[in-house]
């Protein structure tokens, strides 16, 4: 028998924040793609968002324990799919990331994020000890590393890196005997990009990037960051108005509807708009954290915190990149960047959070 879950019980504040961010995203996509070949992206995005809400409700209705129970199966399917992508995937922009379906393409690595969250939650819940021992840490690390390597091979360093914060937050929450190491791990994951930006020299970065990810062109990314900073700075306090940003309009800004959407947004809405969106993201994250804190069990908390860490990482790296404080890694801004796979993937995660929340009301 299934439990009846009332739509009244889902996290309405979370829904409202999500909806607002998505709406701003759609508006920005519209503004950034006017008179280009991407002209119809905004309503496609709107459809993806609608589909996302439906999918989220669907996931929320599933008991997350059921999903956790299938975590290893899902993990196996993920590895298989990633291998398939490498073998038969659709190639575009110098990498092989998509599996083609009639009418659309799925980026498998986006959905693997969710699986990693489930995997980490399951693995850590299964531990009987109060702390994660070195061996288990290595085992879990190994489990996460395999899909990471597969994604890096595509090559897609940015997406591969997003799996790390999930692992890190899980391990830290589970408790690590070597606390010191744990701190280093978190610091590394969250602060590594800062070190990248301020410690490494340009040519070192270029070498590192070419080593890890030959598809990246450091020359090109340098141009992108400069144009992005110009766009942000030109926005000033009040912004230039919707469709009025010259950096966006005359396409000096690279991919202003996907990776650099926040740059376009900053140009047209100014510092004020930026603060509004950042506040929205912040309260969204805090809402998820609250769900973690009120989760009925450890596994629920792991799931929520995994989602939270992943979103935070995305926001930090993408928005940091827009203002030139993070390297160009090409990961999307959650809920704003155009793209079906990533929108659906984030809604699946929000569905998991809601599922955890709804479990509270059971029994």
């Amino acid at each position: 028998m299934t439990h009846y879950r009332s739509i009244r019980d889902i996290d309405w504040p979370l829904m409202i924040y999500t909806l607002l961010i998505c709406a701003m995203g759609i508006l920005q996509i519209f503004s950034a793609t006017r008179d280009t070949v991407w002209e119809d992206a905004w309503w496609k995005q709107a459809l993806w968002v609608l589909a996302g809400f439906a999918l989220m409700w669907g996931i929320a209705c599933i008991d997350y324990h059921t999903l956790l129970g299938h975590a290893y199966v899902l993990y196996g399917i993920s590895l298989g799919s990633l291998a398939l992508v490498l073998a038969f995937g659709r190639q575009a922009f110098g990498s092989r990331r998509w599996i083609a379906f009639p009418g659309f393409h799925l980026q498998i690595s986006e959905f693997v994020k969710t699986v990693i969250i489930l995997l980490v939650a399951r693995y850590l819940t299964d531990l009987k000890a109060e702390r994660v021992e070195g061996r288990e840490l290595l085992k879990l690390g190994g489990l996460v590393l395999v899909p990471m390597l597969l994604v890096m091979k595509q090559p897609d360093l940015g997406t591969a890196l997003t799996y790390l914060p999930v692992l890190a937050i899980g391990v830290v929450l589970a408790g690590l005997r070597w606390q010191y190491l744990a701190v280093i791990a978190v610091v590394l994951v969250l602060v590594l990009p800062v070190g990248w930006n301020y410690v490494l020299k340009d040519y070192q970065k270029a070498r590192l990037v070419t080593f890890l990810d030959p598809g990246q062109d450091p020359q090109g990314s340098g141009y992108q960051v400069i144009q992005s900073k110009i766009a942000v700075g030109a926005g000033g306090m009040w912004g230039k108005g919707v469709t009025q940003g010259s950096q966006t309009k005359y396409r000096f800004l690279p991919v202003p509807h996907t990776d650099f959407i926040f740059s376009a947004f900053s140009e047209e809405h100014g510092f004020l708009g930026v603060v509004v969106i950042l506040v929205l993201y912040f309260v969204l994250l805090m809402q998820i954290v609250q769900n973690a804190q009120t989760a009925p069990d450890r596994s629920g908390m792991y799931v929520c915190m995994g989602v939270c860490a992943l979103l935070l990482f995305h926001i930090l790296v993408n928005i940091g990149m827009v203002v030139g404080r993070m390297p160009v890694t090409g990961i999307p801004l959650p809920l704003m960047s155009y793209g079906g796979s990533n929108i659906l993937s984030f809604f699946v995660m929000l569905g998991l959070v809601n599922s955890v929340r709804l479990w509270r009301f059971v029994s």
Binding site: T2, H3, H65, T66, G69, T125, D126, L127, K128, V172, L173, A174, G175, L190, G220, Q227, K229, I230, A231, V232, G233, A234, G235, G236, M237, S246, Q247, Y250, R251, F252, S266, G270, F271, V274, V275, L278, Y281, F282, V289, A292, Q293, A295, P296, D297, R298, S299, G300, M301, M305, A309, L312, I315, L316, I319, G320, V323, G324, R325, V362, S363
Partner: protein, 639 residues
């Protein structure tokens, strides 16, 4: 349904369910999140609030481009309105230096066959100019270069490259009238610092010589500018504003292309100069200096090797011999001497000198060019046969200062003031001149050489043409000039001389060409009363030649002429360096005179036909405004 998680994972041990177990760590996570968001916001604060102007300007520079519209230079026309110097359209490559990447310079240079070092040096040269000013790096692009630029000017490769249309100077082939016209070139460092070019900037193309330089200001025009919005591909999306270029003004010269061509042909293979002018108003009809150079090599920027070749050439093609060579006039000075003798009263109808082939003055023997002598010589015979002994005596009697007075009156030894840069002055020696320059008094013996146009006396061909023309007009010297309808011409210089005296000299010169025994018979023209005077002038003084200093050079051949005798319309001076004898230069003048009078006759016929046709109402091409009617008008003004 069991709500105990234990039963959800059958066979798995269950942990104590205490979701609050990590509360402290979650709180830490929250603080970290706050920190991260502050870090991000500070990034925006930096860019958007602290210095948005900087980025605003950067965004504007991104999309707004200022492209120069180059003003075409004015054309140069001849007196009949025929184009001498034209422009042709071509593309030029400009390099915007705002977003110039150093590592792009080499591939761009290679793609366009520009020497890398020269391009780098040129960019360095412009370092001092504001960055937003683009600089032209190559003119007259070929089709292959154009395709290279079109294929590589996208933002990923070399967005610094920009094409503009430009007009470039097209000079007549073979260096026709090269010295008069001059040439243009990019302003040099030293010119930038000179007051003449104070209003020009680096990169401007200015006239460097001749008319191009003299009238640079009016020929040049003012460059315009287009401000356009471009996208990241460099495509124009919007035009913000256009300041049209103001083209330079066309300039009509007094040169007659027909005469110029004939004169140049006559001088072909010879070194020297020809100046033909209208003595009634000072308009220069033809002006030749040979050897010439090809001004097209200068249009744009001259190649170093071309320049070296020009400078090293022993014949010095860059020298405008018509106004810059200074030589002794030799016997062509005798008409001026004759006038001086007549005016000072020394020479009259009864004045006779016996020429035995030479004479002694002040202890030195001076030869006549005719070894066997001219016998009994009066003024007329002295001029016709160019007797040196006769003029030695005249000079000895009137003295150097009288000679200088009349030579100066004729315009010798001073700049004529023609509208060309760097005119030479020449020298008319006098006792004052010697005292001023050598702090020595004049020795009467020196006068003897000057009497036959030797010694310290040096003139330019233009001065000779002008001097003879004014003498032919009975002592009225107009300022020679090259621009038609010039506004600010000074009134002619009218010498205080007796017209009867001038007439005697003119009759002598008529005899030179038309009488038996005259030295200039080769300039004779049927039906035209041509007057002339030959001259064979030593290039180094006799004294120097005798003492063995300097190698003996062949004499310069001079010939001055004007026609028609009583109502002169054209005066000519020709100088053939190393031509040996003046009579050999006479055919050059004759060719020009032939061309002049043939053309005049042709035009008069055409006019006559036109007038006949005009009697009957008719539609059709009217004969061109003939210059033949103009002399008639100016003749009255000239009198």
């Amino acid at each position: 349904m069991p709500n105990n998680p234990d039963e959800r994972f059958p066979g798995k041990p269950v942990l104590r369910d205490d979701p609050k177990f990590a509360a402290g760590k979650i709180a830490f996570f929250q603080y970290a999140t706050v920190g991260i968001f502050l870090f991000l916001i500070s990034g925006f604060w930096d860019l958007q609030v602290r210095n948005p102007e900087f980025y605003n300007e950067a965004a504007e520079r991104n999309m707004i481009k200022s492209l120069p519209i180059l003003a075409p230079r004015g054309k140069l026309l001849d007196r009949d309105g025929r184009v001498i110097v034209d422009n042709h359209s071509s593309y030029s490559l400009i390099l915007s230096r705002e977003n110039l990447k150093q590592e792009h310079i080499r591939p761009i240079a290679e793609g366009l066959n520009i020497d890398y070092d020269r391009l780098a040096a040129r960019l360095k040269h412009f370092d001092a100019r504001p960055k937003y000013e683009p600089i032209i790096i190559k003119n007259e692009l070929t089709q292959a270069e154009l395709s290279f630029i079109e294929a590589h000017r996208d933002p990923e490769t070399f967005p610094e490259m920009e094409l503009i249309q430009a007009k470039h100077r097209l000079y007549p082939r073979g260096g026709l009238a090269a010295h008069v016209i001059g040439y243009v070139g990019e302003i040099s460092e030293s010119e930038l610092n000179s007051p003449e070019f104070i209003k020009y900037d680096q990169g401007d193309v200015i006239g460097k010589a001749g008319i191009e330089r003299q009238y640079n200001d009016s020929l040049m025009g003012v460059d315009g500018q287009r401000r356009v919005v471009v996208d990241n591909r460099g495509r124009e999306r919007e035009v913000l504003g256009v300041k049209e270029a103001i083209p330079g003004k066309d300039l009509q010269l007094t040169l007659d292309l027909d005469l110029q061509v004939v004169a140049e042909l006559a001088m072909q293979g010879r070194t020297g100069a020809v100046v033909a002018l209208d003595p009634r108003n000072g308009e220069v009809l033809a002006m030749v200096s040979t050897p010439a150079y090809d001004p097209n090599k200068f249009a744009g920027r001259i190649r170093a090797e071309d320049w070296k070749e020009l400078v090293k050439n022993p014949d010095n093609p860059l020298l405008d011999r018509a106004i810059q060579s200074q030589f002794a006039p030799g016997s062509t000075f005798k008409p001026v001497m004759a006038l001086a003798g007549l005016e000072s009263g020394v020479v009259d109808d009864n004045f006779h000198i016996h020429c035995p082939g030479g004479a002694s003055f002040y202890g030195r023997y001076f030869k006549c060019w005719q070894k066997k002598g001219h016998g009994n010589v009066d003024l007329h015979k002295g001029i016709v046969q160019s007797c040196d002994v006769f003029f030695y005596n005249v000079g000895n009697r009137i003295g150097i200062d009288k000679i200088a007075e009349y030579a100066t009156m004729a315009g010798l030894g001073q700049k004529t003031g023609i509208d060309l840069p760097n005119e030479a002055q020449g020298v008319v020696p006098s006792s004052a001149w010697k005292m001023r320059n050598f702090r020595q008094k004049w020795y009467a013996g020196e006068t003897i050489s000057v009497s036959i146009g030797q010694g310290a006396l040096t003139v330019t061909p233009l001065q000779m043409a002008s001097a003879i023309g004014g003498l032919a007009m009975g002592g009225v010297w107009y300022k020679p000039h090259l621009v038609k309808n010039a506004k600010d011409l000074p009134p002619p210089h009218v010498g205080k001389i007796d017209p009867a005296n001038a007439m005697k000299v003119i009759q002598g010169m008529y005899g030179v060409v038309n009488e038996a025994g005259g030295t200039g018979g080769r300039a004779r023209l049927p039906g035209i009363r041509v007057c002339g005077k030959t001259g064979s002038a030593q290039r180094i003084s006799n004294e120097l030649a005798k003492s063995g200093g300097g190698h003996q050079m062949k004499d310069n051949a001079w010939f001055v002429a004007f026609a028609p005798c009583e109502a002169p319309e054209i005066a000519i001076a020709t100088l053939w360096e190393g031509g040996e004898h003046g009579m050999l230069a006479a055919p050059i003048a004759r060719d020009v005179l032939t061309a002049y009078f043939d053309k005049k006759a042709r035009l008069q016929r055409a006019q006559a036909v036109g007038e006949m046709k005009n009697g009957v109402p008719q539609i059709g091409p009217t004969p061109p405004e003939t210059p033949a009617s103009e002399p008639a008008a100016t003749e009255e003004a000239g009198d």
